[in-house]
């Protein structure tokens, strides 16, 4: 059984194992992704959360084969899409999957659309590359797609240029392009970070609706825990090139089992009204900065900032513990000898000790 959550027992549509990616730079070799494992259940949304530099963008870009291979290198790992290995595919085969089976939308809608082509043309381009249709049919499909993503007056807007759209509208166009060939998986790399919060709500709503209608899986990359709470079924928390915690959205939020996840949640302002007369609660930030990925630490990448770090953490890379079905955490605190160190809030509610799992 791979790391899927208890919310779905079907075979995962995407299964990523031990993905490692490096880059050659002026200053040396950056180990951007250092062993990432996750899976996406069909029709569900996986959110990959992390801060800048944690490797989330590099991870999904290597899934799509978008990492330029002179400076970049996938040194190991397996990525199975619908059971079929897609890493290291020949460009011809990769092109069949990219755009058709897996669609992708990017962060900045300003720079992700070709400013010299009408949006209709760009959508039709994708359609005609993957399917054998005439330009007239393509145009009809493009108008339909624009309507689906709720662009007003699609019949006339299909001939407009990207600069004639606002940010939110451009993002909708991107979504239209990405879903044009009915992909089974949509990868969205921080799709709403550059948008206002009201527009973000519209876009996220749209994505959820499209997912329901088409049974599409979504990988959503974000740094905003609110967006995760709103959209995700499963969550993978990344730090310093690794997935440090993985599970359903409820387990991540209510049974956080990694100090980093806990730290992220404590660093965000809560949503409770403060009682009158009570002094204002303080945020609990995570001190320090992320580690240098030119020389990643020998042990746990979070050890330098973790308030519960132990000697073992600095020396040895913690293994991936499975806590309950589908909830995993990469932390030494789950070792039985470390139970005294583990803080109470780390395993809020029901904690399943690794020993109990042995009985399964």
């Amino acid at each position: 059984m791979s790391l899927t959550t208890a919310t779905s027992q079907q075979n995962p549509i995407l299964d990523v194992r031990d993905l490692r990616v490096e880059f050659d730079t002026y200053g040396g070799v950056v180990k951007a992704v250092r062993g990432v494992n996750f899976a996406v259940a069909p029709g569900k949304t996986l959110a990959i959360v992390g801060e800048s530099g944690c490797g989330k963008s590099v991870t999904v870009q290597s899934l799509m084969g978008l990492i330029p291979t002179p400076p970049g290198r996938i040194t190991s790992g397996s990525v199975k899409f619908q059971g079929r290995e897609i890493l290291g595919l020949a460009p011809k085969d990769a092109n069949q999957i990219r755009g058709k089976e897996i669609g992708m939308i990017f962060q900045d809608p300003m720079t992700s659309l070709n400013p010299t082509m009408t949006v209709g043309k760009q959508i039709v381009e994708t359609l005609r590359y993957h399917e054998n249709i005439t330009p007239e049919e393509g145009r009809k499909r493009a108008i339909e797609l624009l309507e689906q993503v709720q662009i007003p007056e699609p019949a006339s807007r299909v001939d407009a240029y990207p600069f004639q759209f606002s940010g939110g509208m451009r993002q909708r166009v991107m979504i239209a392009m990405a879903i044009a060939c009915n992909p089974k998986l949509l990868i969205a790399d921080e799709p709403t970070t550059a948008l206002d919060v009201t527009v973000q709500a519209q876009i996220l709503n749209l994505m959820k609706r499209l997912q329901r209608e088409r049974g599409m899986s979504i990988i959503l990359i974000t740094h905003d825990l609110g967006v995760v709470a709103q959209m995700a079924d499963d969550v993978a928390v990344m730090y310093a090139g690794q997935v440090v915690e993985y599970g359903s959205v409820d387990s991540i939020f209510f049974h956080s089992s990694h100090p980093y996840t806990l730290g992220l949640r404590s660093a965000m302002p809560g949503h409770e009204e403060s009682k009158k007369g009570e002094p204002k609660k303080k945020l609990k930030p995570i001190e320090g900065s992320p580690p240098d990925l030119f020389h990643p630490p020998k042990g746990c990448g979070y050890a330098a900032r973790c308030p519960y770090a132990m000697k073992a953490c600095a020396e040895h890379m913690p293994p991936l513990w499975e806590l309950e079905s589908g909830h995993g955490s990469r932390c030494w605190l789950h070792h039985e000898a470390a139970s005294q160190q583990a803080p109470a809030e780390l395993f809020r509610g029901k904690m399943i000790s690794p020993q109990a799992l042995g009985a399964r």
């Binding site: 801060e51 800048s52 606002s166 939110g168 509208m169 206002d196 919060v197 009201t198 527009v199 973000q200 709500a201 519209q202 996220l204 709503n205 740094h223 905003d224 825990l225 609110g226 967006v227 995760v228 709470a229 709103q230 995700a232 959205v249 409820d250 939020f253 209510f254 730290g263 992220l264 949640r265 404590s266 660093a267 965000m268 302002p269 809560g270 949503h271 009204e273 403060s274 204002k280 303080k282 945020l283 609990k284 930030p285 995570i286 001190e287 900065s289």
Partner: protein, 330 residues
Amino acid sequence: MNPQAILEIRDLKKHFEVGKGKTLKAVDGIQLTIKENEIVGLVGESGCGKSTLGRTLVGLYDKTSGEVIYRGNRMPTRFTASDFKRYSREIQMIFQDPYSSLNPRMTIREIIAEGPMIHGLWTRDQVDEKVGFWLKRVGLHPDHMSRYPHEFSGGQRQRIGIARALALEPKLVVCDEPISALDVSVQAQVVNLLGELKETLGLTLLFIAHDLSMVRFVSDRMAVMYLGQMVELGPSDEVYFRPRHPYTQSLVASNPEADPKRERERNRKPLQGEIPSPINLKPGCRFAGRCPKAISACQTIDPVWREIEPGHFAACHGFDPQHQTGFQAQ
């Protein structure tokens, strides 16, 4: 004039000419009173004019009309260098982008000491000691003063920016999106620091940001802006949990919370449409085009800024007894 008020903004307007007779009314009639030692938050989406307001307040932009009164003194419409010199010891600003708000050619020591040296407050011998003091105050090590900005991370640079602003010991600090460019975990560091400094130094802060949750958390009172005008103002929790203006209601409804259960239970109906262009606006309420509760009066008559509850203001026809018919007030 309110004796406790440190800053009073009356009908402040800042318009930009964008050629061919078109006017961009970035700030169009703002009224706000900031009391001493409070934190007022200012939220709004892109194009609402909050950053422009901040810069106009401190004098970086000239005012088109309106008044800003600091401690009883009317601030000049257009600032000369000597005006800046005079006000720089009272009002300071923390900027948004940690990567461009520090001169890459200057050491941290020079950056922090710049203000006091211009004013002749520190002697040469005092510089190291004073700079070290401020660095420690913002949570950095005094040894860092010989280094250059590019050697620091975003969060650290923001702290240096705070130290620079505070070195002149101002009373009012305008924070122009100080955390937007930082990672979540670092945002908390900076926010905590600001809160702590406000307590120990008795500062007054105007906290401008677009992250609704953070602004609510940080500020005592919160103001919401839309297309150059203020639509609501009140105690932060009141504005966030019991918003009165339809725009604020939509804003709060769109704001995702880090709680999956509550998110599922939420009835989400996102706001339709997009923010219209701020150039050549029509009369009437600016939010009328998207407002789910708009009535015919909203299209033609400008709403009036009125106090709905003690200390809680909003500009909406929904609270105007004249237009109550056909309007469901909350």
